[in-house]
């Protein structure tokens, strides 16, 4: 009797998760393995032939790929730290229960998360047009118009500004939630012991927020490595490929020109490897700091 119950429990355990496992197998495991296989194939359209490491050699000489990789890394290295620092500052400021208008500020800063990536990219495109509202304002205060969409440097700045606008509030929400779980008594005691505000932030708040900061950094890294909607709709990857990203390049390789599926699979595996390395590195760094 008991054996039968255990057996039934066992069968049910599999039945409940079976639909999800089957779907994940078909739409995630099979495609990712297939794309690994494809990355060693060359040829155009549906005619494949085994090319060994030909695609990887092609990567090294492909200036568009190298530029896309460089751009993606610049976005990652510049944008993610700026956004996380801003989100932390806002979260700490808004964690003060005595702050006037706290709910308003919190809602306002979170609001950008509600927009779809395409909609805000299109809005930013009109705001940052050559004679658009941003440049009018910059001229009014004497800075002068900036060639946001036509200069390679400023186009990158624009993408960074846009992503920061969209995601800072999102990260802030995670920090606010984590801050609310911190026992306020420890701050009281720090104040009594004469620890100044900046040191309370550095020595008390930051260490306690480390797991959340790690989580948001990993999430942001994965997101930035796959950046597509913004460069596609805001800057169209230009000017002269200054905002071309890896995902954008895969899209171009597969759907714009005569498709070379094998090579685009190789580029997509570059993203897989980068996500793996960077996530792992962030975990290791976080663990080391905890040990010291």
């Amino acid at each position: 009797m008991a054996a039968r119950a255990i057996r039934r429990e066992h069968i049910n355990g599999w039945l409940f998760i079976a639909p999800a496992l089957i779907l994940l197998g078909i739409f995630m495991i099979y495609p990712i393995l297939w794309s690994l296989w494809m990355s060693f194939q060359t040829g155009r359209g549906m005619s494949f032939s085994f090319g060994g490491f030909a695609n990887i050699q092609r990567l090294m000489q492909d200036t568009v790929f190298l530029r896309a990789l460089g751009n993606t890394m610049i976005f990652l290295v510049v944008q993610v730290p700026i956004m996380i620092v801003l989100a932390l500052l806002f979260a700490v400021a808004l964690n003060d229960t005595k702050l006037w208008g706290r709910a308003f500020f919190r809602t306002a800063i979170f609001l950008p998360c509600v927009t779809s990536l395409v909609a805000y990219a299109v809005l930013f495109k009109s705001m940052f047009a050559s004679e658009g509202v941003i440049n009018q304002a910059l001229m009014a205060i004497g800075i002068g118009a900036i060639p946001w969409l036509t200069d390679p440097f400023w186009a990158k700045v624009l993408i960074i500004l846009a992503i920061t606008w969209r995601w800072t509030g999102y990260n802030m929400i995670f920090y606010l939630a984590a801050l609310q779980n911190i026992d306020r008594a420890i701050y009281e005691s720090a104040r009594i012991d004469g620890v100044p505000a900046w040191a309370r932030f550095v020595h008390l708040t930051l260490p306690m927020l480390k797991p959340v900061i790690l989580f948001t950094t990993v999430i942001s890294t994965i997101g930035t490595l796959q950046l597509f909607d913004e460069p596609y709709n805001l800057t169209m990857g230009g000017p002269s490929q200054a905002t071309m990203t890896l995902s954008y390049y895969i899209y171009d390789l597969t759907f714009r020109f005569m498709p070379s599926f094998g090579y685009s699979a190789t580029v997509s595996w570059v993203i897989v490897v980068l996500v793996g390395i960077l996530s792992f590195a962030q975990f290791v760094i976080a663990r080391d700091r905890r040990g010291s």
Partner: protein, 290 residues
């Protein structure tokens, strides 16, 4: 507390600057200034979108920030260039059917992983968490070839099906199920319910706030989805709201007034959900990290 004492000792002799009232006022002022700038920057694009939808295209391109009288012209042009009901239906269908299927499959799995424990299944779950970091960019090429081979290009099936088993939502439900009281399940068993009846008649009603938060997350994801529909939906009559917004701005001579209207259409449903269900919305976002 000894911990804070140690920090104070390590820093040596420090004076609490904020005790100085002038310094405190200055700091308070800077804080409000900073937050006000942040709030202004965050809200301005929304204002810009609403005001823009009342202005004509050249005015928008020249940065006019005051409301104009072109709202109805813009709406009329929008409805003349785009099959708006069709576009809305496409997005709504994909989002709602996607929500229903994702919730069924993923909540079953989340419940199953938590309630029926086995070491082997826990290992599978660990593997799934690792798969959470597989970027979509790596899947899209083989998925596209698969869908093309099945003759599903230009169908909603192709858009919806790959997202149904969402690792994130499965994880979310597993976390939430930890709070589902085991006594309820035991009592239901004694009453003679089988495992599936327990799931439908006991678990589902008890966990409705978890479902509500999950509905919001999945709906937002589906409604705003862009890259995959862009690849799979090529016929004009199948395009979703996000695809239309994008193709309007890709026009040779973009009509900014119409683009603003389309952006309003794209943003309105999610904005409404946010304001009506703000608490659930935030809970849903945070759910997975708890």
């Amino acid at each position: 507390m000894t911990e804070t004492r140690a920090i104070a000792d390590r820093l040596g002799e420090t004076r609490e600057l904020s005790l100085d009232p002038v310094f405190r006022y200055v700091r308070r002022g800077l804080l409000y200034l900073g937050l006000s700038i942040a709030a202004f920057v965050s809200i301005f694009p929304f204002y810009w979108m609403l005001v823009g939808s009342t202005n004509m295209s050249p005015d928008i391109a020249h940065g006019k920030v005051t409301p104009g009288g072109y709202l109805f012209e813009n709406i009329a042009t929008f409805f003349a260039t785009v099959d708006v009901p069709r576009m809305f239906w496409n997005s709504a269908f994909i989002a709602l059917v996607g929500v229903a299927l994702t919730l069924i499959v993923s909540s079953l799995a989340g419940y199953g992983f938590e309630v029926f424990k086995s070491r082997f299944r826990d290992r599978i779950f660990g593997l799934m968490l690792l798969m959470l970091s597989i970027p979509f960019a790596a899947l899209m090429v083989p998925l596209f070839i698969m869908m093309a081979g099945l003759g599903l290009i230009n169908t909603f099936t192709a858009v919806i099906v790959p997202g149904i088993a969402s690792i994130f939502i499965i994880f979310y439900f597993r976390q939430a199920t930890k709070a589902f009281p085991a006594e309820l399940r035991d009592a239901a068993r004694i009453d003679g319910l089988n495992e599936w009846q327990i799931f439908v008649f006991v678990y589902l009603p008890v966990m409705r706030s978890t479902y509500a938060a999950a509905i919001i997350i999945v709906f937002m994801g589906n409604w705003n989805n862009y890259l995959w529909p862009l690849i799979v939906l090529q016929a004009e009559e199948n395009k979703t709201v996000t695809l239309i917004v994008s193709s309007l701005s890709y026009a040779y001579v973009p009509d900014y007034g119409v683009i603003m209207i389309s952006a309003v259409f794209a943003t309105l449903p999610t904005l409404l959900i946010f304001f009506l269900l703000q608490r659930r919305f935030v809970e849903g976002l945070l759910g997975a990290v708890k």
